[in-house]
C-alpha cells in the first residue's frame, strides 16, 4: 500500500471561524519522510492547519497537496492520512484489536492478513499482550500507543499528530516523544506534529514552522530557528529569552535604567529605543 514517503504542500490557505481569521494565507512545504513541527501558542491556528490537511476542516481559499495530488476538495476518508488526537479518540465500544483493525476491515482486507498486520503494528509500538483489552482499561501511555498503531497500521502517506503528548505526565511525555521519533525514523513516514512545547519541537523536528495569529512567522531547522529567531516573540517562545529595553548610545552601547551595557550594537541604531533578547544559552557576562 505504501508508495514511499511523499511531500505535503499547502498554499495560500485561509480559514475563518466567524470573526478573526484562524488561518490567514498560510503556505508551507513539508518534506517527504521528514518530521515537521507546527509550533505556537494556543489559538495560533496550528491545529486548524493540521485539521485542514486531514480534511476535517475545509479552507475558504488555498490548495492542499499530498504527494503532488491536489486533495483540497477530497473528503478525509479518501486522503490516506493517519491522525492521532490529543485525547486519543479510541472507540470505547471496541477492543484494542478492533480499534486497530477497523480501518483494515473497511478496506475488505481478508481476515488472516488483518490479524497479521495488527499484531505486527502492536509489536512495533510495543504493545503485544493487550489486544483483548478495552481502551478504558489502559493507561494514558498505552492508549497513546494504540492511537499511534491505529493510524500507522494503514501505512498512510502522512501521519498527523495533534498535541499527542499533552495529556501525559512529564516523565511519560519524554519517553513517548522518543518513541514517536523512533517510529517515524523506522517507518520513514512524512509526519506533521502540532505542539505548543518548544522542547518537543526542538528535540524531534527536522523542520519547525512557528505560527502566531493564523500566520507562519518562521520556518527552518530547529537549530536555525533557535539561533536566529525572526521575531522577539519567537525568541521568547523558543529560547526562553528575556528582554532588555533601552536606548542605543552613539558608541553602540545599550543604556538600561542608566546602566551602560557595551554590547557593540550597530551604529545606525544610535539614538533609538531597542529591545535586546537575552537567551539563557547565549548570555555573555562581562566583568567590569
Amino acid at each position: 500500500m505504501s508508495r514511499g514517503p511523499v511531500a505535503v504542500r499547502v498554499c495560500g490557505i485561509r480559514k475563518d471561524f466567524g470573526g478573526e481569521p484562524a488561518l490567514a494565507d498560510v503556505s508551507l512545504e513539508f518534506s517527504a519522510g521528514g518530521f515537521n513541527t507546527l509550533l505556537g501558542p494556543s489559538g495560533c491556528g496550528k491545529t486548524t492547519l493540521l485539521r485542514s490537511i486531514a480534511g476535517f476542516v475545509t479552507p475558504e481559499a488555498g490548495r492542499i497537496f499530498i504527494g503532488g495530488e491536489d486533495v483540497t476538495h477530497h473528503p478525509p476518508w479518501t486522503r490516506r492520512i493517519g491522525f492521532v488526537f490529543q485525547s486519543y479518540a479510541l472507540w470505547p465500544h471496541m477492543s484494542v484489536f478492533d480499534n486497530i483493525a477497523y480501518g483494515l476491515r473497511l478496506r475488505k482486507i481478508e481476515k488472516g492478513e488483518v490479524e497479521h498486520r495488527v499484531r505486527a503494528i502492536l509489536e512495533t509500538v510495543g504493545l503485544t499482550s493487550l489486544h483483548e483489552r478495552s481502551p478504558g482499561a489502559l493507561s494514558g501511555g498505552q492508549q497513546q500507543r494504540v492511537a499511534l498503531a491505529r493510524a500507522l497500521v494503514l501505512e498512510p502517506d502522512v501521519l498527523l499528530l495533534d498535541e499527542p503528548l499533552a495529556n501525559l505526565d512529564a516523565r511519560l511525555r519524554v519517553e513517548m516523544r522518543q518513541e514517536i521519533r523512533r517510529l517515524q525514523k523506522e517507518l520513514q513516514i512524512t509526519t506533521i506534529f502540532v505542539t505548543h512545547d518548544q522542547e518537543e519541537a526542538l528535540e524531534l523536528s527536522d523542520q519547525v514552522a512557528v505560527m502566531s495569529r493564523g500566520r507562519v512567522e518562521q520556518v527552518g531547522s530547529p537549530e536555525d530557528v533557535y539561533a536566529n529567531p525572526a521575531t522577539p516573540e519567537i525568541a521568547a517562545l523558543l529560547g526562553g529569552a528575556r528582554f532588555l529595553v533601552g536606548m542605543v548610545s552613539d558608541e553602540g552601547d545599550l543604556i538600561v535604567d542608566g546602566a551602560r551595557l557595551p554590547l557593540g550594537l550597530a551604529r545606525d541604531l544610535a539614538g533609538r529605543r531597542v529591545r535586546v533578547a537575552v537567551s539563557p544559552r547565549r548570555l555573555v557576562v562581562m566583568a567590569d
Partner: protein, 554 residues
C-alpha cells in the same frame, strides 16, 4: 467548490435538506391549510376575518377560552403548592424511602392522562363508589363532575412531574452556597428562602410551564369529567365534528388561536427564564441533613398521602377490573371475567395500539436521531436553525389541532389517508418527534466528535462512521428515549379520537368510550386500562433500572 463536491464531502447536507422537506410537508403544510380555511367564508371562496371575529365575540367561545386559561392557572398553582414543599424536604433532608419516592414520582409522570378522570368519576361521580357514603354521613356532596373535578384530576395528574422537577432543582444545588449564607449570619430558613429558592427557580418554572401547557392542550380530562364546562380543545372537537368538513372555518380559527395561546405561553416562559439560568460553579452535592423526629414523621405521612392521591386512579381501576359489572354498576363477586373478555373478544385494540406506537416510535427515533445529528454536529448557517425551529413546532400544536390539520390535508385523492392506520401513525410520529430529537441530542452531546473524525481518518465514510461508531455509542440513550416515546404514544387520546376508524380502535378509545358511558363495555374497559398500565409501567421500570439517568419526557 461545486455543489457536487460539497455534497460528496458532506453527505449530511442532503440529509438535512431531505429532513427539512419532510418536516415542511408534514408539520407546516397542514398548519397552512388551517390558516387558509380559517380565512375562508362559509361559501368557501371569499376571504374573510369573520371566523376570528365570531370566535372572539361569541359567548360560547369566550367562555371556553376563559375556562381554559383559568383551569390552567388554578391547576398549575395548586400542583406546585402540593408538590414543591414535599420535594424540597426530600431533596435537602434525610428522609426514609428516598429511592421509592423517586421511583413512584417517575412512574406517575408516565400515567395515562385520562385514566385519572375515568377513575375519579368511578369513585366520586354522582353514582360513584364513595358518593352515597359521603351523602350518608351528611356531607352536601353531589358529584366530582365539573370545574372542580377537572382541577382535582389535573392537580394529582401533574403532581408527580412537578415533584420530580422540583426535587432535581433542589438536589442539584451546591450545599456550600447555603452554608456560606449561614456563615454570613442567615438562619437556616433565611438561607433556604434567599439562596435555595431563587437558584431552584428555573427548574420550578419549567415544571410550571409543562403543567400549564399540558392543561391547556388536554382534551381527555375536561371531556370526561368536565360535564357542562367547556374548554378550548373540547370545543374544537365539537366544532370540527359537527360541521364535518362542510365549513371547518370556525374550527380552524379556533385551532390557530390555541396554537397562538401555546406560543404566547412559551414566549412568556422564555422571557421569565431569560437571565435566570445560573451556572453552578461547585459540584458538591448536598449532603442531606437530619430533621427532628416529629418533622420526619409528619413529612413522611404527608408523602404517603401525596402518593396515595397520585395513584388512586390506578388502584381504583385495578380494583374495578376484578368486579362483576352489570351495565355501569360494579359489584361483587370478584371475577376474572373482564380479563377473559379482553383475551377473547378484545385483543384487537391492544394489538392496534402496540402496532401504531411501535411504527411511529421507530420512525420518530430514526428521524429524531438524524435531526439531532444535524443540530449537534453540523453548523449549516441557514439549515440548522431552521430545522431546529421546525422540529419544535409540534410542541405547540395541541393534539386536536394537529388532527384537524391532517384531516384537512389528507382527505382527498391522491393522498386520502383519513380512516387508515397511516394517518394515526403519522399523527403519533409528528407529536413525538420533538421528544425523540431532544433525547437523541442529549445522547449525542455525550459522544466526543473526534471519535467520529478518527473513523473518517482511517477511511470510513460518514455513513460508515455513523453506523460503526456514533450510533453504537448513543444506543443506550436511544433505547431509553424510544421507550418513553413508545409509552407516550400508547396513551395518546386527543388526536386518536379524531382520526381513528372502526379498524383502528385503540386501547385509549376503548377506555374513553367506557368513561363517557358509551358502548357499555365497562368491565372490558377496566381490564383494558390495566393492560395499558402494565404496558406503560413495566417497560418504564426496566428502562429506569437499566439506565438510571433516563429522564422524564420533558
Amino acid at each position: 467548490m461545486t455543489l457536487i463536491q460539497r455534497v460528496r464531502r458532506d453527505p449530511w447536507l442532503m440529509v438535512a435538506v431531505f429532513l427539512g422537506v419532510v418536516l415542511l410537508l408534514l408539520v407546516v403544510v397542514p398548519q397552512l391549510w388551517i390558516v387558509r380555511s380559517s380565512l375562508l367564508a362559509r361559501d368557501g371562496e371569499s376571504v374573510t376575518l369573520e371566523n376570528f371575529i365570531r370566535y372572539l365575540t361569541a359567548a360560547r367561545y369566550r367562555t371556553a377560552f376563559v375556562n381554559s386559561v383559568l383551569l390552567a392557572i388554578v391547576t398549575t398553582v395548586l400542583a406546585m403548592l402540593v408538590a414543591v414543599p414535599l420535594a424540597f424536604f426530600h431533596a435537602r433532608y434525610r428522609l426514609p424511602g428516598r429511592d421509592l419516592v423517586l421511583t413512584l414520582a417517575t412512574l406517575a409522570t408516565a400515567s395515562p392522562p385520562f385514566l385519572g378522570a375515568y377513575a375519579w368519576i368511578m369513585l366520586l361521580g354522582y353514582n360513584g363508589i364513595l358518593s352515597p357514603a359521603l351523602r350518608d354521613i351528611g356531607l352536601p356532596w353531589h358529584s366530582i363532575v365539573g370545574f372542580h373535578g377537572i382541577v382535582w384530576v389535573g392537580v394529582w395528574g401533574a403532581a408527580g412531574l412537578v415533584f420530580l422537577f422540583a426535587h432535581d432543582a433542589f438536589a442539584s444545588l451546591d450545599s456550600d452556597l447555603e452554608e456560606a449564607a449561614e456563615s454570613a449570619g442567615a438562619k437556616r430558613w433565611r438561607a433556604h428562602l434567599d439562596i435555595a429558592l431563587p437558584l431552584a427557580l428555573p427548574g420550578l418554572l419549567t415544571a410550571a410551564y409543562l403543567v400549564l401547557t399540558g392543561v391547556l392542550a388536554d382534551f381527555g380530562t375536561p371531556r370526561i369529567i368536565g360535564g357542562p364546562v367547556s374548554v378550548l380543545p373540547v370545543l374544537l372537537y365539537h366544532e370540527f365534528l359537527s360541521e364535518g368538513g362542510v365549513n371547518p372555518g370556525m374550527a380552524s380559527a379556533g385551532s390557530l388561536l390555541s396554537v397562538g395561546l401555546a406560543t404566547a405561553v412559551l414566549l412568556l416562559q422564555r422571557l421569565v427564564l431569560a437571565g435566570r439560568s445560573y451556572v453552578m460553579s461547585g459540584t458538591r452535592r448536598v449532603s442531606p441533613r437530619l430533621l427532628p423526629r416529629w418533622a420526619t414523621v409528619a413529612i413522611t405521612s404527608a408523602t404517603a398521602l401525596f402518593f396515595l392521591m397520585v395513584f388512586v386512579p390506578h388502584l381504583v381501576i385495578a380494583f374495578s377490573s376484578f368486579l362483576s359489572w352489570r351495565a355501569d354498576i360494579p359489584g361483587l363477586p370478584f371475577t376474572l371475567d373482564n380479563y377473559r373478555a379482553l383475551a377473547t373478544r378484545s385483543t384487537a385494540p391492544v394489538l392496534v395500539s402496540y402496532a401504531l406506537s411501535a411504527i411511529s416510535t421507530v420512525v420518530a427515533v430514526v428521524v429524531g436521531t438524524l435531526l439531532a445529528y444535524v443540530a449537534v454536529r453540523r453548523t449549516y448557517r441557514f439549515l440548522s436553525p431552521s430545522l431546529q425551529a421546525l422540529t419544535m413546532i409540534p410542541y405547540l400544536i395541541p393534539g386536536t389541532v394537529l388532527a384537524i390539520g391532517l384531516i384537512v390535508v389528507f382527505n382527498r385523492e391522491p393522498m386520502r389517508l383519513t380512516g387508515t392506520w397511516m394517518i394515526l401513525a403519522l399523527a403519533y410520529f409528528i407529536r413525538k418527534v420533538p421528544y425523540a430529537t431532544k433525547s437523541a441530542e442529549a445522547s449525542l452531546y455525550q459522544v466526543p466528535e473526534n471519535l467520529e473524525e478518527a473513523a473518517l481518518s482511517v477511511g470510513a465514510t460518514p455513513a460508515q462512521a455513523l453506523r460503526d461508531v456514533t450510533s453504537r455509542l448513543i444506543l443506550p440513550g436511544l433505547v431509553s428515549g424510544a421507550t418513553l416515546t413508545f409509552l407516550m404514544t400508547l396513551t395518546e387520546l386527543s388526536s386518536t379520537l379524531m382520526l381513528y376508524g372502526a379498524a383502528t380502535t385503540t386501547m385509549s378509545i376503548v377506555i374513553y368510550q367506557a368513561a363517557m358511558g358509551m358502548g357499555g363495555q365497562f368491565g372490558l374497559a377496566a381490564s383494558t386500562a390495566v393492560a395499558m398500565m402494565v404496558s406503560v409501567y413495566v417497560p418504564l421500570y426496566l428502562v429506569r433500572k437499566r439506565f438510571p439517568s433516563a429522564g422524564v419526557p420533558a
